[in-house]
Symmetry: C2
Subunit: 427 residues, 2 copies
Amino acid sequence: MSKGIQVGDVGDVDDVKGLAQRAKQASHALARAGTSQKNDLLFTIADRLQGKHALLLEENRRDLKNAEESGMSAAMLDRLELTEDRLEVMAKGLCDVAALPDPVGEVSEMVRRPSGIQVGRMRIPFGLVAIIYEARPNVTTDAAALCLKSGNATILRGGSEAIHSNQALAALISGSLTSVGLPPEVVTMMPTTSREAMRALLQLDDLVDLVLPRGGEGLIRFVVENSRIPVIKHYKGTCHVYVDAGADLSMAVTLTINSKVQRPGVCNAAETLLVHQAVARQFLPVVGAALVQHGVELRGCPRTREILREATPTTEEDWPKEYLDLILSIKVVDTLAEAVEHIRKYGSQHTETIVTNDHRAAMQFIHEVDSSSVMINASTRFADGGEYGLGAEIGISTSKLHAYGPMGLRELTAQKFIVFGQGNIRI
Amino acid sequence: MSKGIQVGDVGDVDDVKGLAQRAKQASHALARAGTSQKNDLLFTIADRLQGKHALLLEENRRDLKNAEESGMSAAMLDRLELTEDRLEVMAKGLCDVAALPDPVGEVSEMVRRPSGIQVGRMRIPFGLVAIIYEARPNVTTDAAALCLKSGNATILRGGSEAIHSNQALAALISGSLTSVGLPPEVVTMMPTTSREAMRALLQLDDLVDLVLPRGGEGLIRFVVENSRIPVIKHYKGTCHVYVDAGADLSMAVTLTINSKVQRPGVCNAAETLLVHQAVARQFLPVVGAALVQHGVELRGCPRTREILREATPTTEEDWPKEYLDLILSIKVVDTLAEAVEHIRKYGSQHTETIVTNDHRAAMQFIHEVDSSSVMINASTRFADGGEYGLGAEIGISTSKLHAYGPMGLRELTAQKFIVFGQGNIRI
């Protein structure tokens, strides 16, 4: 399979610019496409994912072979691998997106103004969205599906480890676009994963409307530092469970365990437990035993360790850390205000929950914590587009501009103002 | 009057960072403030604007004297000047913002999910907003008022010509903050207008949540190129009136005249008239005569000039131009699609209007033009926060992310997710 143009020397910027220009031009055709044409497209891609699985698995094996030779870990190899089952899951994902309502064209808040004009807001696609991500090839179809349904052309830049899988998936999507009468450049895979090409892409603020980086902190930092295009960040999740003086302690144990151990490797798992000093002596031994039973390693502040001898001491590095593992840092706080301050200082604006039956404490926490998801008496693990009813998510934004928290189809659109008059003039 | 710290040498970055850290710290107190405390503050500032007018006018005279000596134009001097009447208008603006509903804390779309949790969205301030603008000192109080009401601390960076006026206004605002029990750093004026200090400010993406540049293209370009902080752009307004084949030509004359001449120096005035070829022979002589009568200089494409001899030839530079003056460029187009394409190529995504009684043409225009305001049979001059019912506007965004078109109080806030449970866990 051809890798298309190679971007890697002096011609870089022009090549990337040409690619972005063609994608932008193609975006206009997609923006005009109706819901049924977009759904036909999603079904076509789903069909071909299963019909062409032999070719896809072959290209994926090339990536796996290179990755093995370069000594990739077993966990990472597993993320990289495509199987017939995984292709079926990807196909199902495309059909799920087809079933979601089309956000484009929705008109809201239409009112008549004293001047006689009617003013409302209409939802429109951004135009061209760049998605920069790392090794998992299933992101290629997931991201393309959400962008297609929301009417956005996409430039995808996947990880170098998955280049052959991604090129094969992109070719399949482009073929599907052609078959439903849309330009193949509506979904464009960057033909290279070089940082130079990415840097060139990130300068094109006249062509690309939005950049979504998904991956490690290094990648996101690189994008933020080099982009003239607006970026919606998806940083890490250092999520907190705060057990208040007014907590139902049995509920607090349940919520702490679920938040930490139900799936420790994901961003909405809890990393730190904050406990009000009024309940620490009663609560910590019980939750500590339950956590240890679930295989969780405990690290604690000095006051925690007075009660929980098995906890090792925390260092300043523990508090902002996203362990993504069965490790929990624990701190005893004097007041709710101290918990809020700790979250503000060390949190990542992802998800925090308070366990309490004290209404005033619950309201204070909900108002004063400004993370993207703030919960009362619920597991942090609920912070998810599917759980929130968004249908599917392209990621979880931890920056406040435009979208904050799980982002679904609606968050991939903008709103313009529309005005209906009958010859009205301004006086 | 002290100018506070001076930023201009090696200490730059640290000084600006310290200032931003104090402003961010202060933002938490403002975010907790209730609506009545914020309104008290706005009324206090309004009172003092009138009570301390002698001091303010004296500082303003220092700016005027420097500006005159440096040869500033009469029009610019007029924009820079403060008078008792203008201070009264500024005070009235503050009271108007106090009268608007407080967007902070609004909860919407709360639903119960199958898991049993309740999920909704709550409106919150961004935190710390930087506003970078040019010479007019009234922007200082207008921008501060909207940020205060929406719960955002502000770093203001005004133009060097207005530095004494702005410092005096900022001192007055800080004094008012103290008097209502809020930290004076909630509104912080940059003590210097140097580009180095601005560049240092624009690197602080961990402290500043949003940058709003208001001014000429050079300033905005500088901000976009140097900022790691999300930017909402307020570019120019190259607005179009498109007279369709299905237009009521008498209405088309009225709307063209109003869009062009009612206030030619502002961003929502029309700069280009596009005319469908089917009506050009009938329409152009009538509208041309009316425009000339209003003192408008006409520039036309070759087909326009066959009909309107008095129009001078347009060049490629005319089409993207924001004249901000009594000049209009005119182009005859073959189809609505050509008009849409022209707007896409040369427009600035501000405001476009179609004049037509053909429903299909109207709907095509509304859907295919993706400017921030798209109108049917209405003057472009309506593109304004006040006219749209937003109450007051901090500017008009021409980039799609977060806010597109006139921005009011609501557009100065974000939405976080809130979740209410009764001990719900994820299974």
